[in-house]
């Protein structure tokens, strides 16, 4: 699937998110755990703000000089026997990868988790060309069997419970055991081992590419990315063009920020850095290596006020603190990148037309900005998006435009204002009981469906103020 998940409207998606009680429970408990993990890891360091500053400095410098660092990276990978393809669009990337797979006469492709391959719709492109593609991250494997998109960028199957997963394993793979997570994982290990051993091509994403030496780094816990990079003879890594760390020392700081901000770990079980092809006397690792560097709309963000959105290291800390994500869940964003960073990034990559609601999926509480390990001013960028949508794109909803025009008329005519303030109480009377409106008409309905609305007061503020002034003057 491309960056957009489907055709259902934003409103419909939110409705189904809010009505999904299991998902909401799962998200809020996951948010709690992620958040406390991150805070504990930060507290242990004692100087977390210095770490964030260092991270911001690395990312700012890297993006300002991204053309040099991409050149250096491609030179180094090529020196180590790798082939590098620069893809301006998703189509170019998919076509190149399909050609490699075709040339190798590969039947089976194993993949480790990669957001950028979700973004460019690689799996669909490969499947259309007749390849079998197997996701090997536990969460991604579950979603692939269910043909369900990810709802979180770190734990993609967060919205599913173990009973649903057991059911999926049983119907799709003949699983017969219980819904204990350990048993489910053991089954996945056995099933996927067979796939790893028989795969012709391995495809990975990339957490950070170390440009000084051409090392592509993966930050993982399950070990599937190590299997994907160790067993198949042909390997392809796909990366968004901004996923760079100039030196090993920069990479180290970014990895330390990522694992702490994402899951509160000092390091994940595996941080693996692979460089080009295996050497002549080595027997595992790929004999053919390809690196695909994807633009797909990123370059348009460079040089704009949104450039720092490209500093993102995909830790999901902003998602894990967002009160809106907590209630609507990942699928509501209709993007492979949900949460605050998704609301900033998706309209930039895919245009405002399909995603104009996203910048409004925020309370502007700034929790995301505070949580970001590389200090992206997320809530400020959301405000800027809103300004652009209203002023430049003129894409605010028609009803809002009419309402605003009406409000301007109404508020600038004191007689009309006075009259309607007095009328409000009377006209809402049919819906009012004990000074509370429970099932309001028209635009009030959205509010009163979930909470009560107080009835307009008997006395308007203006008349109250007038009489108070009179009293004070002793009249």
């Amino acid at each position: 699937m491309p960056i957009k998940l489907g055709e259902a409207s934003y409103k419909e998606r939110i409705q189904s998110g809010i009505e999904n009680d299991f998902m909401r429970g799962a998200v809020s408990s996951a948010q709690g755990r992620f958040r406390s993990g991150r805070l504990k890891a930060a507290e242990e360091l004692g100087n977390w703000e210095d770490w964030r500053t260092r991270g911001e400095e690395i990312r700012t410098h890297t993006l300002e000089n991204i053309d040099f660092y991409l050149q250096q990276l491609s030179d180094e990978v090529s020196k180590r026997g790798g082939k590098v393809f620069f893809a301006e669009t998703a189509e170019e990337a998919n076509e190149y990868i399909n050609n490699v797979v075709k040339e190798k006469e590969a039947k089976k492709v194993v993949k480790s988790k990669s957001m950028v391959t979700e973004e460019i719709g690689l799996n669909e492109a490969l499947e259309e060309a007749g390849s079998e593609v197997i996701e090997t991250d536990l969460g991604e494997w579950i979603l692939q069997m269910d043909e369900d998109p990810p709802s979180h960028i770190v734990t993609p199957a967060l919205h599913k419970n173990k009973e649903q997963i057991r059911e999926t394993f049983a119907s799709k793979k003949g699983y017969k055991n219980s819904d204990m997570p350990e048993e489910l994982a053991t089954f996945a290990r056995e099933q996927l081992r067979k796939e790893f051993l028989s795969a012709d091509v391995g495809i990975t994403g990339c957490n950070f590419a170390v440009t000084e030496s051409g090392a592509i780094t993966f930050v993982t816990n399950e070990g599937n990315a190590r299997l994907v990079t160790s067993l198949p003879d042909t390997q392809i890594s796909v990366m968004g063009m901004e996923r760079l760390a100039p030196t090993w020392e920069d990479m180290e700081v970014l990895v330390s920020l990522l694992t702490r901000a994402a899951v509160g770990q000092k390091l994940t079980s595996y941080v693996t850095a692979i460089t080009g092809t295996r050497l002549e006397d080595e027997v595992d690792g790929p004999e053919e290596y390809h690196l695909v560097i994807v633009d797909n709309g990123r370059s348009k963000i460079l040089g704009t006020e949104f450039q720092s959105a490209l500093h993102c290291i995909r830790c999901a800390a902003c998602i894990n603190v967002c009160p809106v994500y907590r209630h609507v869940g990942g699928h509501s964003y209709n993007s492979v990148y949900p949460g605050p960073i998704g609301a900033v990034l998706t309209p930039l990559l895919d245009g405002y037309d399909d995603h104009k609601e996203l910048p409004y999926a925020s309370t502007l509480c700034a929790a995301c900005t505070d949580a970001c390990p590389v200090k992206i001013p997320l809530h400020e960028q959301l405000i800027r998006h809103r300004e652009i949508i209203v002023e430049r794109e003129k894409k605010s909803p028609k009803s809002e435009q009419m309402m605003m025009e009406g409000f301007a008329q109404w508020a600038s005519h004191p007689a009309a204002y006075k009259l309607s303030a007095r009328m409000a109480r009377t006209s809402l009377k049919p819906w009012t009981k004990d000074e509370i409106i429970k099932n309001g008409p028209g635009p009030l309905k959205g509010w009163t469906d979930v909470r009560d609305f107080p009835a307009p007061s008997k006395q308007s503020f203006r008349s109250w103020f007038k009489s108070r002034q009179k009293k004070e003057r002793g009249q």
Binding site: N47, S74, S78, F85, E92, A185, S230, V283, L302
Partner: protein, 234 residues
């Protein structure tokens, strides 16, 4: 053609940045902060070993401390504890000095199936590793803060040894301990600058594989080893 579409791609990037394309090594201004160098700054090797041992509890890893003379005995106990009927190990230049070579001979004499990683056996190494109960390697650099062993994989130390077997044992010479990943990264950076190319695969391994993908429950042991023991050697 090993690099395709680069010039048009990078020119477009430079255009968006509103300046000519940069092709020469760029200057870096110095950083305002360096918190990564503060961690365990003045720790001795013994204190680092203590930190490592303490962190092993967090990463579900068994930690043992021993001496060179006792190492074969501790290895034997560990392999037995893992019900190890087949063992694969790296061909490491430290095997002799740490008495591990003779230990491996004894394993075979005791009826344990054993494979020393050998490039001339080709793919057989991986097939063996896939069904092996135990994989054994040395740590090249050990990170005390995170409980991480660093392996520079090479022709004698295949990637699969620490990955495919059901369990994994890392032998950690105390001298390999450093405070954290910062020192390992600097080592690799400096070596690279001095013209020593980095290994085709550098593996930073922190305990057994795990996942939290099912209802956020921690599952220890997914695609990689299910159980891990570190043996710190004086």
């Amino acid at each position: 053609m090993s690099i395709q579409n680069r010039d048009s791609f990078l020119q477009n990037v430079a255009n968006h940045l509103g300046r000519p394309r940069k092709t020469e090594q760029v200057e870096r201004s110095s950083f305002t902060v360096a918190p990564q160098w503060e961690v365990f700054k003045d720790h001795t090797q013994d204190e680092l070993a203590d930190e490592l041992e303490a962190h092993c509890k967090v990463i579900h890893t068994t930690c043992k401390r021993t001496t060179v003379s006792e190492l074969p005995h501790v290895l034997w106990e560990t392999v037995k504890g893992y019900d190890g009927k087949s063992v694969i190990a790296s061909d490491d230049k430290r095997n002799d000095a740490f008495g591990v070579t003779s230990f491996y001979k004894e394993l075979e004499e005791q009826g344990v199936e054993f494979q020393l990683w050998n490039p001339s056996d080709g793919h057989y190494n991986m097939e063996f590793a896939e069904r092996a109960d135990v994989g054994i390697t040395f740590s090249d650099i050990t990170l005390a803060e995170s409980g991480t062993v660093t392996l520079f994989n090479n022709s004698g130390n295949g990637r699969a040894i620490s990955l495919l077997p059901r369990t994994y044992i890392a032998i950690i010479p105390k001298s390999t301990l450093v405070p954290r990943m910062t020192q390992a990264a600097k080592h690799i950076h400096d070596a690279n600058q001095d013209g020593h190319p980095v290994s085709s695969c550098v593996s930073f391994i922190t305990g057994p594989s795990n996942s939290a993908d099912i209802e956020m429950n921690l599952i220890v042991g997914v695609h990689g080893p299910v159980e891990v023991t570190y043996i710190i050697v004086e």
